[in-house]
């Protein structure tokens, strides 16, 4: 269903976000029916952890004080569906 499309120009500063999205609270919605988002979880593909930190800290969620970068570490995928290559 989803095909992974990568850029053709792979230069040295090429950065590739695999996927990401908001984390939802257990009640999913608040009293007004909005999605109750309590954080973000993003998977990046990069050369170093500094690149990832730079990417996150340049996002408007971080600069405007919505999220805080709590944890950033290497990730090794043990299992992935055939359509999603991690």
């Amino acid at each position: 269903m989803f095909c992974r499309i990568t850029s053709l120009s792979r230069d040295d500063h090429y950065f590739h976000t695999e996927f990401g999205g908001p984390l939802l609270a257990p009640e999913l919605t608040d009293e007004s029916g909005r999605k109750k988002m309590i954080g973000s979880l993003v998977f990046y593909e990069a050369e170093s952890i500094e690149e990832v930190r730079k990417m996150v800290e340049s996002d408007i969620y971080y600069t405007s004080g919505v999220v805080r970068l709590l944890h950033c570490s290497r990730f090794s995928a043990a299992h992935s569906t055939p359509n999603v290559t991690l």
Partner: protein, 168 residues
């Protein structure tokens, strides 16, 4: 003997009609002015009617017909065509034309820099202050627009966009 030939002989003009003249005619060099400047290009012209000189085989690869694609199997299965020297001379000995000696050799993908990329997981929870969700929703449009711009520039894969559409 025609009239033109007779005129040429009388005036001492050789048109290269004798075989010896054609065979041993030196390479003619014409100075050609380039864009009206003082730079003059000297272009050697060979006698193309009777090819008795050895054919100059350029010692460089043929222009590869590479298919520009992001799909790895296409890159793997693609073949680069170039002239193999041994096949070229073998075919010349056997009298086969040059166009039939195109050899296909495996395509070698040339990477500019061997960079090792790793996967990183980022957990960024929201602040626990009361107005954070409203602030998050107000900034969300700019956040998604920035990601769309990165997708257009090729920084972020389109997979992110599909996820952001699925989870509005």
């Amino acid at each position: 003997m025609g009239a033109a030939r007779r005129i040429c002989l009388r005036r001492g003009i050789s048109q290269g009609l004798f075989r010896s003249e054609i065979l041993y005619r030196p390479i003619s060099i014409f100075p050609v002015s380039f864009l009206g400047s003082s730079l003059a290009l000297q272009i050697p012209l060979h006698n193309l009617w009777e090819r008795n000189y050895p054919i100059q085989v350029p010692k460089m690869r043929f222009t590869p017909f590479r298919i520009l694609s992001a799909s790895p199997p296409v890159l793997c299965n693609n073949r680069t065509l170039y002239f193999s020297h041994s096949a070229l001379f073998r075919s010349r000995r056997n009298g086969i034309s040059l166009t039939s000696t195109v050899t296909a050799l495996p395509f070698v993908r040339m990477m500019s820099s061997a960079s090792t990329r790793h996967l990183f997981a980022v957990y960024a929870p929201d602040y626990t202050e009361p107005g954070v969700l409203d602030h998050r929703l107000s900034v969300r449009e700019k956040h998604l627009k920035a990601i769309e711009g990165m997708i257009d520039s090729g920084t972020v894969s389109a997979y992110v966009l599909s996820h952001y559409i699925l989870v509005p």
